[in-house]
Amino acid sequence: MLLQALAFYVFAAVTVASGAMVVVSRNPVYSVLFLILAFFNAAALFLLIGAEFIAMILVIVYVGAVAVLFLFVVMMLDINLVELREGFLKYLPVGAMIGVVLLAEILLGLGVLGTGSATIAALNKQGAQVLAVDNTRAIGRVLYTQYFYLFQVAGIVLLVAMIGAIVLTLRTRPGVRRQKVGDQINRTKEQAMTVVKVPTRGGV
């Protein structure tokens, strides 16, 4: 139990610290890297409460796709840092206010949670009894049976997204040299080499 609590505080502290670093670090590439660190620690927190499926999804989706996308954007766009930081003080009060409201909502939510009939612990116990399996398996059981249809249609939606992206952006530009593996392999010694007799002192 003590070990779990210790782990929680370590992960939570690193999450919060790297979250702060995302905002304050000067170099946007560092920001994205800190964001990745925050995602990893949040995933560890999910693992601690036994939600291993969400933990893995967080790593795969956010670290694997979203953060890499951010990195691409940050590195490909020419962002002027000075301009970005100009409005910092001006917007600070609004930002702080939103932060306070969110914090108050979380505290209120936690307060209400204890008073109601259903607490997270009770719900967890209920869920565990009904399923008697870990949550990846539980999701898999309904995803491939009850919600099989939705799962398949979601797949087709992704296919359409892929076709759409290719149709709208792929252009065959003239004059671009592409590697043609077939041509390379088919090349024979006769095509590739010419034996030249070079006369002494004559040059080619």
């Binding site: 099989f148 249809y149 939705l150 979601a154 939606v157 076709i163 709208l168």
Partner: protein, 480 residues
């Protein structure tokens, strides 16, 4: 629980369409651009074959753990959507070849959008509704921007995408509230919860309003119509033809099955919203189109007006009203495809023109084309005894029987105003001096479509009875 064979047989048309589209996609990717003519024709054939599969043999019931439902109404609506999409694909070749955007992905994206429409028509759960709607919308956003070298087409795509995402967000927000208050996303669960007294809950009403707003965007009913004129004008003309028929019919069908299904207990609440949207759509469709010069833009306002009439049928909330909707949509499909086939034939010295004034003197140079257009315009204006008149008549009868007197009278007045701009096109064709004639179109798909649509409109005008019986049978699906 395993997905049983029952589910697969019930969803056979959808499975066939999905599998065939994927095969054609692979074929297209392997063969490259040379495959385009084949893929395009094959897609049309697949869409029509799917329509045949709907009825041979006809089955009904629910599938995939009750996420999917098939009944008379969904089957009829799917048939309309499939025919509309198949014809839209057939009509597109000449246009895209001319603008050098003739690529094999276009018919396939239309097929995937159609698949999404079929899934949303068959939705029996809020989640199924959403995935179907997204599949449809995503494919449509892409084809709106398909002519990517054209600034207007790209603009249409971006506009449609951004506003469509907002609408999806509203729909999802409403769905989450309904899920929270009713304790389930399945239509059966929602209707049971509402009958058990959840109907009085404020949150459910708010959720309902958001869901209706999201759906109203998809059918482009006022006040969620802002995107329609710009997207219709900017998108390539064959895409506009598709937009005007297939997604509209699908979204209206979805609206009918959501509001008349799980939300039937809240009838008095949603009736007000639908009546307001209907009257506003009819009015805007009539007045805003008066000064339009671009014929595609004019058709956009015309389609907003038509949605207003359809919503009036929905607001009546009766079996007669639903019958009138199906009847109206079938006639609307024939008329709209005919009009767009004619628009696609409007060329001058090899380039497409799309202004009303370009039609001047058409009656002299191409009397057949002018006559077909005259037929469609008179029918859209609702002049008896043409098909469009019967459609409006059924709607107004249903509205009057549901005691919606004022909206019905306003609808009649709006249709009088709207007849001005339909008749203006006829006047331009028959009485204006031609400046320079339009090119004669060689016989092709577009001419065949215009001819077939004209024949259909004539048949519906002279004998509306068989179609009305089909519509009545479809409406029975909701009122077993």
């Amino acid at each position: 629980m395993v997905v049983g064979l029952e589910s697969w047989t019930l969803a056979r048309p959808e499975l066939f369409l999905a599998a065939a589209t994927l095969l054609l996609l692979i074929y297209g990717v392997v063969r490259g651009e040379v495959a385009t003519p084949f893929v395009s024709v094959a897609t049309s054939i697949v869409l029509l074959a799917t329509a045949v599969l709907l009825f041979a043999p006809y089955r009904e019931g629910t599938a995939f753990a009750s996420l999917f439902i098939v009944d008379r109404l969904t089957t009829t609506m799917k048939a309309l959507v499939l025919v509309g999409a198949a014809v839209a694909v057939l009509m597109s070749r000449a246009y895209f070849e001319q603008v050098k955007a003739w690529r094999f992905e276009y018919p396939l994206l239309v097929a995937l959008a159609t698949l999404g429409m079929m899934l949303m028509i068959s939705a029996n759960d809020l989640m199924a509704l959403y995935v179907g709607l997204e599949l449809q919308s995503l494919a449509l956003y892409v084809i709106a921007a398909f002519q990517r070298d054209s600034l207007r087409s790209t603009e249409a795509g971006v506009k449609y995408f951004v506003l469509g995402s907002v609408a999806s967000g509203m729909l999802l927000f409403g769905a989450s509230l309904i899920y929270g208050f009713c304790g389930g996303t399945a239509f059966v669960q929602i209707s049971r919860a509402l009958l058990d007294g959840k109907a009085a809950e404020f949150g459910v009403i708010v959720g309902l309003v958001f869901v209706v707003a999201g759906l109203a965007f998809k059918v482009s009913a006022v006040p969620f119509h802002m995107w329609t004129p710009d997207v219709y004008e900017g998108a390539p003309t064959p895409v506009t033809a598709l937009f005007a028929v297939a997604p509209k019919i699908a979204a209206i069908s979805l609206m009918v099955s959501v509001l008349m299904g799980p939300f039937k207990p809240l009838f008095l609440q949603w009736q007000q919203i639908i009546v307001a949207a209907s009257v506003l759509s009819m009015a805007l469709g009539a007045f805003a189109a008066l000064r339009q010069q671009n014929i595609k833009r004019l058709m956009a306002y015309s389609s907003i007006g038509n949605v207003g009439y359809v919503l009036l049928g929905l607001a009546s909330g009766s079996e007669k009203g639903i019958q009138a909707i199906v009847f109206y949509l079938a006639i609307y499909l024939a008329m709209t495809l005919g009009v767009f086939a004619t628009i696609l034939m409007m060329k001058r010295r090899g380039t497409m023109v799309e202004n009303v004034s370009d039609l001047a003197g058409l009656a002299k140079s191409q009397p057949m084309m002018a006559f077909a257009m005259l037929l469609f315009m008179f029918s859209m204006a609702g002049i008896p005894p043409l098909a469009g008149f019967w459609g409006k008549l059924y709607i107004f009868i249903a509205a009057v029987e549901a005691k919606l007197f004022i909206p019905a009278v306003l609808g009649v007045l709006a249709s009088v105003v709207a007849s001005y701009y339909y008749l203006r096109i006829v006047k331009v064709m028959y009485f204006d001096e031609e400046t320079e004639t339009l090119d004669r179109t060689p016989f092709g798909v577009n001419r065949a479509v215009a001819f077939a649509a004209a024949v259909l409109v004539t048949v519906f005008s002279l004998a509306p009875q068989p179609l009305s019986l089909i519509a009545a049978a479809a409406a029975k699906g909701l009122f077993p």
